[in-house]
Symmetry: C2
Subunit: 510 residues, 2 copies
């Protein structure tokens, strides 16, 4: 590190822009080396730990978070300007996410045990005994997100799923909420101590220099990366991860406009559709990765009414405090730029305060949408764009031309079923999750959730960063050929001491 550079940095009060007390260290290459070496030293012990013990660690972290909830919420509120009720809810979500992964790892089914029964008499060659399971990949780096200081940060889904898999974790805390990260890290440290596990299983690194993230992603002892953030930052780190002598998996959730398609019958059937739309696009001040950023409608009288109600609601919206000054500046300049472009109309909230931003709703038609591919880029914050299609064929064609998103939403009734059936295949091809007659904001943490999708929604569309399946990002398969019972891992022993599901010769037995 350059000796002239500051060795500490401060959190910023998101409401006032003033620094908050308590300085945080600016970590760099040296701390990455230490943390990665320490993580590597405990990686084998941690991956071989019993599933029950890892489940217990996850539950302990959840409990510690709940105990410290008040302090964490208060600090996160100052650092992010997110409402306390929302942050309390996020503590709950983070804890229940940890407990879901405890359940997943307790079941042992994440090993995905598969057996091929041997046949010594097979001609021309005997069929060997082959059994396969999944094992942890090694130390993992996790990048905290700005918009979910708890659920997608220090003890968020990436960390929970990686610890469940048996990977030590090094978190790079987001600069927007270092105090929150610190408090959450203390919960994890306390849980490790309670469970008599080495502290090196988890390390929080902080700092406001790009070199920290770069050093983490390129460190030879780091074997995988979980990232939630912008397309620009995420892509730069993805590139580094792929250019390493040993490329590693980089699970980045980068950006999405989450297209929504509204067929006329749905507007007629749901009087509060416009209200629901405005509520979804302004939820969390429009800082959700699942915000409906573009809405395709058909040119019809119902649509006109829908747009007018939405515009009316936008005018009445309160202004919003965004997570950071940087996010506010980007939002304002991008909204102003878009508003100044040709063929697009903007409605903004009429209430304005200096440090806050005004929610904005754009309206255009499909002709202008096609001429302006830059409108497909996500603007983080409380804005959205309605695109009026000439007719259903026009809408269908547009649906086929969109880039990847986390979600795609369809509003329709039985009346429009034929059109819905024509749209669905396009929506499957561009998104990780299809939502029917609902809104994409609000990501359920369960077994079936997919929070991912074609690039740039995810750098790896075969994965999800939310839900039980997220554990598979940190596992890789190993086959064992002809090993005696005494040398096989428990998950593959004939006696099945873990009592797990196994697939034998192509079918699952319990």
């Amino acid at each position: 590190m350059n000796p002239q550079e500051p060795t500490t940095f401060y959190a910023v009060n998101a409401f006032t822009g003033e620094p908050l007390p308590i300085a945080f260290p600016v970590h760099g290459e040296q701390e990455v080396n230490q943390a990665a070496s320490a993580a590597q030293n405990v990686a084998r012990e941690f991956r071989q730990l019993s599933n029950a013990k890892r489940a217990s660690l996850l539950c302990s972290i959840a409990s510690e978070l709940e105990v410290k909830s008040e302090e964490i919420v208060a600090r996160a509120h100052l650092e992010t300007a997110l409402p306390e009720a929302r942050l309390s809810g996020e503590i709950g979500r983070t804890a229940s996410q940890l407990r879901l992964f405890a359940e997943v790892v307790s079941s042992g089914n994440h090993h995905q045990a598969i057996f091929d029964t041997p046949n010594p008499d097979r001609q021309p060659l005997p069929k060997p005994d082959i059994r396969r399971q999944q094992i942890a990949i090694g130390p993992v780096a996790v990048f905290g997100a700005s918009n979910f200081p708890l659920a997608f940060s220090t003890a968020g889904g990436d960390t929970a799923s990686a610890l469940a898999a048996g990977c030590p974790v090094i978190v790079k805390g987001h600069t927007a909420h270092p105090g929150t990260s610190q408090l959450v890290a203390e919960c994890i440290e306390a849980a490790l101590e309670k469970e008599c596990l080495p502290q090196a299983i988890f390390t929080l690194l902080q700092g406001n220099k790009r070199a920290l993230g770069q050093a983490l992603v390129t460190h030879p002892k780091i074997k995988g990366v979980g990232f939630t953030g912008s397309v620009g930052g995420g892509r730069a780190l993805f590139n580094l991860a792929q250019q390493r002598p040993e490329p590693i998996p980089f699970y980045g959730e980068l950006g999405a406009i989450n297209p929504t398609f509204i067929l006329p019958s749905a507007i007629r059937a749901n009087a509060s559709l416009a209200e629901e739309f405005v509520a979804s696009m302004t939820l969390g001040c429009g800082q959700f990765c699942t915000k409906p950023g573009v809405v395709f409608v058909l040119n019809s009288p119902e649509t006109q009414a829908f747009i007018e109600i939405a515009q009316g609601l936008i005018r009445q919206q309160s202004t919003a405090t965004l997570l950071t000054q940087g996010i506010r500046e980007t939002y304002e300049s991008e909204v102003d730029k878009r508003a100044s472009e040709t063929g697009i109309n903007v409605t903004r909230s009429e209430q304005a305060e200096v440090t806050n931003v005004a929610p904005a709703l754009f309206v255009t038609d499909s002709k202008n949408w096609r001429k302006n591919p830059q409108w497909e880029e996500e603007i983080f914050g409380p804005q959205s764009l309605i695109v009026i299609c000439e007719d259903f064929d026009d809408m269908l064609k547009l649906s086929d031309s969109l880039t990847g998103s986390l979600t795609a939403t369809l509003h329709a009734t039985a009346e429009d079923e034929e059109q819905a059936k024509q749209l669905l295949p396009s929506l499957e091809e561009i998104a990780g999750r299809l939502v029917f007659n609902g809104w994409p904001t609000g990501v359920e943490v369960g077994y079936a959730m997919v929070h991912g999708g074609p690039y740039p929604a995810s750098t790896n569309s075969a994965s999800t960063s939310v839900g039980a399946e997220a554990i598979h990002r940190w596992l890789r398969p190993v086959a064992y050929q002809a090993l005696p019972e005494s040398l096989l891992p428990d998950s593959l022993k004939a006696s099945n001491p873990l009592g797990i599901q196994r697939a034998i010769d192509g079918s699952v037995s319990q």
Copy 2:
């Protein structure tokens, strides 16, 4: 294409180095554009085709291969110098691989259907109905391998698994066997016709210019790549795939030295161990990706005897015709270079013919091994290296320092069980498959096989390129939230018309 460049190329007789009759077109960017656009045009139809129909296509391809077996074997023999019996066996393996994927896709379990049961009464928010399945990613490029002109080429494992998943396939035939590729492609074309499916589902492109592979990997309509080949060539294409505006999964199986560890009791217990070793390292003229390229032994009298027997067998080996002149030249120059280095001893086959190569066995000790990291690089062809470790601790330390391999092998008896237990965790961490008291050559095609491993064995260690699980490389998950039965895909309908396995709220039901 530069107008001065030849528009055709010839196959080479692997025995004589002379061109074989019949010219093949040199395809380039234009043919890639045509094939990728055509593939994209049929991609949706093909992914939505019933599983039964796709299974039927795979079985038809297998039958066509068997019908044309004699002609294919004769041509492949000329192009590769591989024995006809081996090639006939490879036809059988290729056909049974296609039939395994027919079985996999018929079961419908590759959709990996997962359900979360809704709960409208949950507080504070209702729990939505979420169901998840896997769908095909779109058109896929497959690169044929030199060393398996059938099982890892035009209709090999990558093509079979991609077609099973529902992805159209464009194969870049290997320049070493264009006639074989052409004959196999005709079988696939005939099968498509028999099944009344569009020809655009499969295209073979040929040519001896690098630009062809580069154009394929960078084409925006290509959504994934399967590759088997060298570290250099594979890594260059991997880099291109990751640098695209939309990065795509690149499943490359690049290189491995397949370390083998022999404990003294195993030498005492198996009088033919040295013979088995020499047979494995020279199988297919040492051109198997699973060849045991380095053998770690302990300094003991048994070991000395083992080495002497192996050296004796090497001296008596026939010389071997390698696949291509390029492979022969590389083999010879690398073996000569290694033989000239300090601290290493070489034994070669005494029979030499001008166009053939002599099998070679190197011996060194762990001290020299540590000083020469270049010896960890794979040399393609009939050679291997025995490393004598000072004692078991020395062997254990070395096992922890190795780079990724497809396989790791351990020879031991119950007598050495404690040492075996100490070695296994290292072996799990460096390989995709552990072999006990056997040899890594010979990769069973089944449900549990893992043919992959940490880089450079694979560019994606979470996957396998052989066995039923290989289908997952060409699928990605999609979640469906609150879709009515009429709009859900069959794999997720409550009525389960496909009769497939589903995991409901965390446990599998049939």
